[in-house]
């Protein structure tokens, strides 16, 4: 199951559509990190609204992904963590330390705009 990656201005948006296997997550990581360079991306949004489970592997992969993208010079925001998933992450003692989060795609884009001080100049 591949994750579609959309380009919007200088941002990349990866919308996870369905439960992902470990291999899918690893592939997403490689693809995003490569595309950040190709598209001169300033910000990346990973939308996990469709994920009904985030276990320690998924958590670590997203955390590593965010860190790798930071090293490539762009910012990452993880959006759409469901209430039950947030609750389970806390109970398991997992954190996305370092990765920024926002409620949904809209808030994620606003956060990137704010951080990159681009205001309304974001291209569509």
């Amino acid at each position: 199951m591949r994750v579609p990656i959309l380009k919007q201005g200088s941002y990349l948006i990866a919308s996870i559509q369905d439960a992902l296997s470990d291999e899918d997550l690893a592939q997403l990581q490689q693809e995003l990190v490569a595309r950040v360079g190709q598209a001169r991306t300033r910000g990346v949004i990973i939308d996990v609204t469709a994920l009904d489970v985030m276990d320690s592997f998924a958590c670590r992969t997203l955390r590593d992904l965010a860190h790798t993208i930071t090293l490539r010079g762009a910012e990452t925001v993880i959006v759409g963590i469901q209430p039950d998933v947030a609750f389970a992450l806390v109970r398991l003692g997992l954190s996305l330390s370092g990765a920024q989060t926002a409620l949904d795609l809209e808030d994620g884009l606003a956060l990137l705009d704010q951080h990159l001080q681009r205001g309304n100049t974001r291209g569509r």
């Binding site: 296997s21 489970v53 985030m54 276990d55 039950d84 389970a88 109970r91 003692g93 997992l94």
Partner: protein, 147 residues
């Protein structure tokens, strides 16, 4: 070292209504196992937060099977021991765990993972029993009761 062997209906042929078994051989099987567990938990009337905890616990244990034993099985079945609940059994005939106490410590991992799998899963379930013997395999039996 615990030398107890696993003897229950899961190795016999007893069919329990609502029981399902998922062989764990590849990454996609982790998803199948947790979906089965969530479906049964939903049927049993667990809250959606508990369904997520149960699915997450299954995901952690199924991954342990893949990483450490390569193949194994996840069994989910309803529990009616005076109260309603769900039992999840993660079984493999892999290398076993030499030091269970260490494996249960937060942050301890021999595979480069976060090391939260076993201790974290124990925290989110109501009962958690791990029986492992080096060279023979590992069986984790966990239960969650409806509140």
């Amino acid at each position: 070292m615990d030398s107890r062997s696993w003897t229950s209906t899961c190795s016999g042929g007893t069919h329990v209504v609502g029981e399902s078994r998922v062989p764990i051989k590849q990454g996609g099987d982790i998803i199948t196992a947790r979906q089965q567990g969530r479906a049964l938990a939903a049927q049993l009337g667990f809250s959606s937060a508990d369904q997520t905890l149960i699915a997450t616990a299954i995901s952690e244990m199924a991954r342990n099977i893949l990483v450490y034993a390569k193949v194994g099985e996840i069994i989910v079945r309803p529990e009616h021991n005076g109260k309603a609940g769900i039992t999840i059994i993660a079984h493999d005939a892999g290398p076993g765990i030499p030091d269970i106490n260490r494996a249960m410590q937060n942050g301890y991992s021999t595979s480069g993972s976060l090391g939260v799998g076993l201790p974290g899963t124990k925290r989110i379930m109501d009962e958690f029993l791990i029986v492992s013997e080096v060279g023979k395999g590992t069986t984790v039996t966990m239960k969650k009761w409806k509140t």
